[in-house]
Each structure stands twice: as structure tokens, then as C-alpha cells.
Amino acid sequence: MEDQILLTMRNITKIFPGVKALDNAQITLRKGEIHALMGENGAGKSTLIKVLTGVYPFDNGEIHMDGVDGPMVNHSPLEAQKNGIATVYQEVNLCPNLSVAENLFIGREPQTKQGFIDWRTMNKKAKKIMENLDIDVDVTVELENYSLAIQQMIAIARAVDMECKALILDEPTSALDDNEVSKLFKLMLHLKEEGVGIIFVTHFLEQVYVVCDRITVLRNGQYVGEYTVKEMPRVKLVAAMLGKDFDDLASIKPEGGMNIGNDVVVSAKGLSHKGTIKPFNFEVHKGEVVGITGLLGSGRSEMVRCIYAADRAQTGTLHMKGKLLKARAPIDSIKAGMGFLPDDRKTDGLIGDLTVRENIVLALQARQGIFKTLPPARQNELADQFIEMLHIKTASRDTPVSQLSGGNQQKVILARWLCTHPDFLILDEPTRGIDIGTKTEFQKLVLKFASEGMSIVFISSEIDEMIRTCSRMCVMREGEKVGEIDGEITQSSVMAAIAGGDEK
């Protein structure tokens, strides 16, 4: 059964304004197979799924599905469903206020002869479905009374009852605990036996090795390869995902090593935030560049958000330059000398309709307070200074920042923090979605600031970048800090630390 091809996607290309999300990507799904789809942020996993299920149209390529004559093009999730493809997203797409039974049958409720909804039949059928899948719920209770894990399984049950041939699970385990994950896997294996092909989008390495048969890896929108789980050791998998990006420039670190002072600038002990990051210790010295590495979802961003008080720390203490810092909101951290470049510049960084100048001076202004306004002349001065220093390509300093390209937008946000002359700067994925040339610029800037005495945290999915700039690395896995690497940092040592587990 395994070798019967259920679904193929070939040469799929999808271009959004300014970025090529998919570049000749492909995937093959067989009947009765659990197939992992992996890749870091920007790899194109979710775009590929959305193209398959009709959320986005695609620009090039072909999709073939068993049972559908000719190339298949889905124009909407509904059409995809009719063709036998069902998707369950991480944000469970069910209605929390309706009962379990109703959620299973919305849109196709059993009806009485007069055309009214037949609740008794619906509840009976729902109960049977749940029993078949070995899920213990009361089908008449509202969905929101059940945990996210159960809700996901109900979403899967709905998909399965609608007779899907291919089931796509998009990051289903991110919010589940171990118990719930094993229940989910049991269900998946059950479905596998029935011949359903499952695409399992995930970034949890361990889980892939437990339940999957094959793996397809994407990187930067391109297809890297398809591998069988049995033949793919962890480290090789991590290498395929993170890979060696272009870059043949020699090491840019200064000769004689980095100029790291003895003073500890930031010292965190036992900081944690419920639901996002387990208690961790963290230290940075003056002039040091520390990298935080790990796969997507391992808690890198969550850790720095906790340090910065974007998510207020619920346990532990934080000392900044030797003094205890009780930060309740980002403004406290800013006043203490921190800066934070968030990983999602669109939702967390840019104030789109405001001008380049306004975006640049905003954090400095916030730190000074509402009454000490920066005079327009000073604002222009600062804006011009950083437009020049960082080579920001903009029509003028009064252009709305939404009109700039991704790389230049990122530079604006960087400029924003440089204005405040922070002692400690957090850069979370500063080079994501940016062209190669600008990436190198950023890396060199990081080293320059470090040599001037700034302490920097650098987070990136590209290990290469971090190796070139960092003197020390924190390794994260599944929501907690699991170790540090200092001294000689090499690609293999980092990948091994990330992969963890027993080497296969």
C-alpha cells in the first residue's frame, strides 16, 4: 500500500510581491504513509500547504491527485475538501461555542423529513465516530470545555468522517504535552492503517522519528530532498534543514578574537514565563555576542522576550549592569539600556503608516517620555545619520515605512534601537527575508557594535551567520535551554547540539 502514490506536487512556484515563497518545490505523498514536511521559517512549508488546499493560487507547477483526472487546481479549501484533502491547522478551525457533535457535522447536519436538524441522529452518529477513534468525549458538550489536544483530535475526526484521502496536519503538536502527543500519534497510526496519507508539518525532530515514514525538507522555498526516516540520521536532517547557505566570505571576526570585557552586563537567574519558557539562567559580558540557536519553536524568541519583559517574567531575577531590574513592561527594560528587534517585524516592529523618520526616533522618544519631545531638527538629524550609516534605501526620510523593501524596513528598526545607544541589544532573526548582501552588512555591524562595547544577543535560523559573529551559543530545545557552546564553535558541534538525542 505504501507505494501507491496518492498525491504529487511538482515544480510549484509561488511569488508574492517582493519575495519568492516557493521555487520549484515538490512533494510526494503515498497512501497509508505519514510524511513529514520540514523546514525553518521562510522555508515555504505553510505556503505549499496553502497552495495545495486552495488558499493561494500558484504561479507554476502541477498537482496530481489519485482519483482526480488531470492536474488538480483547488480554488478554495472547500474544493480541496471535495477532492479529498482535509487540513487541520494549529489554530483549531472549529467553533468553540458549539457542541462536539455539531462541530463534526456543520454544513452537513442530518435532517428530519421536514427539513429540521435531527439532533438525536447527529449525537448518535457523533458518539460512534468518537468511539471508533477511541476518543473519550461527551459529544453534547461545548467544544471549548475540552483541551486543545482533544479539540485537535475532533478536528481530525471531522476531516476523516468526510472521507478524506489525504490529511494535512499543520503543526498539531506545538501546544500538546507528551501524553496528548502520544494519543495523537495513536490516532495517526490508526488512520495510516486505513490507507489515509498524512502530511505532518512539524519542527519537532523527535516526533518525526517516532511516527513518520518519510521526510521532505524545504529551504528558502526550494526542495532540498525526500528521505526515508530509517536512513536519515538526525544530524544529517538538521544539516539539510539549516544547511550551508551561500557564503564564501572568510571569517569576519577580528583577528585576535573579540574584545570581551569581564563585566557581566545582563545576568538572569531562573527567569521563566508560564507556557512559553522554562526557568533558565543567562549571562552576557560587555562586548560579547551570544547566539541563541535551536530549531523553530525551541523557545529562542520566548527566552529573549522574557528577558526584555515583553512577556513579564514570573519567576527568577534579572540584574542589569549589577543592579536588580524589576521590569514590568518593555519601557522598564528600555530605560535600563536594553533594545529588542522582534522576529516578526510586520506585526511587532513596524508602525506601517508612519514615516521612516518617525519609526527611527520612536523608541528614543518613548524612553525620554511624552513631555520631552525631540525637536524636528534633531529628528531629521538622527534619521539622516542612520539612513547613511546603514545605507537605508528610501525616497526620503518622510516616506511611509510600509513602502520600503523588507531589508530596508529591518534596517529602520535596527536604527530605532541604535538611537537609544543600548548597552544590551537583542536581535531576533534580524536577517530573515533579507538579501544576501544586506545580511553580511548586518553581521559586520553586529561585530562593530560589539567592539564598541555593546552586548548583543543574536538569534538566527542560519547557523552560519551565528558562527561568524558569536563568541558563545546557547542551545534551546522544546521550550528550554539545554546547554551552551563556547570556545570553538563549528557547524557540526552546533548541529549536533541542536539535534540532540541519540545519534542514529
Binding site: C95, I117, D138
Partner: protein
């Protein structure tokens, strides 16, 4: 997993509403025992006075289920009453065509609002606020004075307005003059209760009704599951304005007149009744039985104030607004706590 007996949250909300109503009514009976508050007629009178409001609240509940709101209802009622008053009272048109016309006006009104909310995706508050001012203004355009419907101008309507349905005699009481006072309701109450029944069936047993719940629960999920969200929302507003027009007819049977100031603040009472009845402002939760008791509660507040005689009617307004405020805050706190627990 241990199976705990789960009490549905909707049942809890209904119990709170009924309890609140019973408590208030009891207080009235105790305080105003000497004014005859405890007679059955008082209870029935609340229903008679609020027959129109009951229909409106049914429609309001539906709209709120989809996560929207309709603040045009008071003004629409005023416009309907004015149409009826001018048409039947002044121009002498016959009853049935006028009633049909008013219902048609409600349908069109609802269509326009529904289209703007459902298909143009404009905030319901802005659309229905414009509708509110439009209808209120139109009332004045039709006629700026108060117009009455009398027995001379339209005997049929007059007869309907004064019709009584007497209840069994044993429920009555003998007053201090020795006469047997038999409790009664008006046909308007029967119509209102019928409307409640019909909407109850629609909400529980039809696809349209359930889709309103789904849209209010999670619009994104409803879309993913294949429901036509835009159409559902539009239909909800059409239903609301249509029911509002039915309510307008019943209201007119009560007041037998039309004026520019009529039904001022009715939208607030309708929203309050719905919210007290257990409808969540965020959508997805609510039912007409609870809303019916919500109307009884706000009606009781009004009766308590008028029975007192010394309190200004403004107090009823303030009490209703205060009750609404408390419920809204409770709902919001409840939601915030739930979010944090996640």
C-alpha cells in the same frame, strides 16, 4: 478520562437570568404588596406592555449571535408607528395593506443594513447607527406632529388594540368593591410568544440558525467549514429588522399613535434584555428563552419604578443601563479570565 457531569454553560446563564427576574419580581411583591403588585395582572401587564419589545429582542438576539449589534431598532419602531398612524389615522388607508407595507419596509431596511455589514464588511455599529438616525429622521419627515389612531379613523385596528383574552375566572380576585376582576392578556402577547417560539425553532433546528451560532463563535472557522458567512450575517440583519417591524405593529397597537419621540432608548432596553438574558456581546452564545426573561426583567424594573409613583421614569432608564453595565463588565472579566487560563 473520568466522565464528569458537565452543566452546560448556557443552562447556567439561563438560570441566572430567571433567578434575577424572580428575585426582582419578589422584591416588588414585598415592597408594593399594598399596591396590588402581587396580582397576576401585574405580571401579565408586563407582557402586554412589552409585546413589541419581545419581538425586537428576538431579532436582536439573532444579530448579536453573529457577533454584531443593531441599534436602529428603536428608531425603526418609531418610523413604523408613524407610518401606521399617518396611514391609518390620518389618510384612512385600510389596515391589512398598511401592515403589509410596514413589514415590507422592515425587510428592505434589513436588506440594506445586512448588505453593508455582511458584504461590504463595515462595522455593524456604524451601519446601524446610520440606520438609527435615518429612521428617526424619516419619522419626522413623514410627520412632525403626534398622530393618533382613533376608533373613528380605523375601527378595525382600534378593536384589535382593545381586544382582551380573558383567563379562567379562578385566577382572578375580588376587589374591594366586590367585583370579580378577571386577569387578561391581549392578542399581541400571543403573537409575541409565537414569534419567540418560531425563532426558538429556527435557532435550534435549522441550518440558518446554527450557522448564526457558528459565525459568532468563530468566523474564520465557519468560513473554513464551508459556511457562507456573508450571507448568514446579511440574513441575520434582515431578520432583525423584519421582527422589529412586527414589533412595531404590536407597539403601535399599544400606543395607538405615532410621534417623533416614540420608542426613544428602546434599542438600549433591547440590548440590555438580550445581554441579561445570557447573550454574549462577542457572539456565539445566547437563546431567545433567556432573552424573553431578559425582557421580563427590564419590564419589571419599569413596573417597579412606575408603581412607586414618586420615582421619575428616568430611574428606570438608569437602572437598566446600570444592569447592562454590570453584565457587560462581568462578561468581559469572564472572557479575560478564560484567555489567561489558556
Amino acid at each position: 478520562m473520568k466522565k464528569r457531569k458537565r452543566i452546560k454553560s448556557s443552562t447556567v446563564l439561563l438560570l441566572i437570568t430567571v433567578g434575577l427576574f424572580a428575585a426582582m419580581y419578589l422584591v416588588g411583591c414585598i415592597i408594593y404588596a399594598d399596591k396590588g403588585f402581587s396580582h397576576l395582572q401585574t405580571f401579565l401587564n408586563i407582557m402586554v406592555t412589552n409585546a413589541g419589545l419581545i419581538c425586537v429582542v428576538c431579532g436582536m438576539t439573532c444579530v448579536m449571535l453573529t457577533g454584531g449589534i443593531d441599534i436602529s431598532v428603536g428608531s425603526l419602531i418609531a418610523m413604523d408607528c408613524m407610518i401606521l398612524a399617518v396611514g391609518m389615522g390620518m389618510k384612512g388607508y385600510s389596515t391589512i395593506p398598511m401592515l403589509i407595507f410596514v413589514l415590507a419596509v422592515g425587510l428592505v431596511f434589513g436588506l440594506v443594513q445586512g448588505f453593508m455589514v455582511g458584504y461590504l464588511k463595515i462595522q455593524p455599529f456604524i451601519v446601524t447607527m446610520a440606520g438609527m438616525f435615518f429612521a428617526r429622521g424619516m419619522t419626522a419627515v413623514i410627520c412632525t406632529d403626534q398622530v393618533s389612531i382613533t376608533q373613528e379613523t380605523n375601527a378595525q385596528f382600534y378593536a384589535w388594540a382593545n381586544a382582551k383574552l380573558n383567563l379562567p375566572a379562578f385566577l382572578g380576585y375580588t376587589n374591594n368593591k366586590g367585583m370579580l376582576i378577571v386577569p387578561f392578556v391581549r392578542p399581541t402577547v400571543i403573537i409575541a410568544l409565537l414569534v419567540v417560539l418560531v425563532i426558538f425553532i429556527v435557532l435550534k433546528y435549522t441550518k440558518f440558525g446554527r450557522s448564526m451560532y457558528a459565525v459568532g463563535g468563530s468566523e474564520a472557522s465557519a468560513t473554513m467549514m464551508g459556511l457562507d458567512v456573508r450571507r448568514t450575517k446579511m440574513k441575520a440583519y434582515v431578520l432583525s429588522s423584519f421582527l422589529c417591524s412586527i414589533g412595531g405593529i404590536l407597539y403601535c397597537l399599544n400606543t395607538m399613535s405615532g410621534s417623533v419621540q416614540q420608542a426613544k432608548g428602546l434599542e438600549m432596553t433591547a440590548i440590555a434584555s438580550s445581554v441579561i438574558g445570557g447573550t454574549l456581546l462577542t457572539g456565539g452564545v445566547g437563546n431567545v428563552i433567556g432573552s424573553l426573561f431578559g425582557v421580563m426583567t427590564t419590564g419589571t424594573i419599569n413596573t417597579l419604578v412606575t408603581t412607586n409613583g414618586k420615582l421619575l421614569s428616568s430611574w428606570a432608564n438608569i437602572a437598566t443601563a446600570a444592569l447592562l453595565c454590570i453584565f457587560i463588565i462581568l462578561q468581559s472579566v469572564f472572557t479575560l479570565v478564560k484567555e489567561r487560563r489558556k
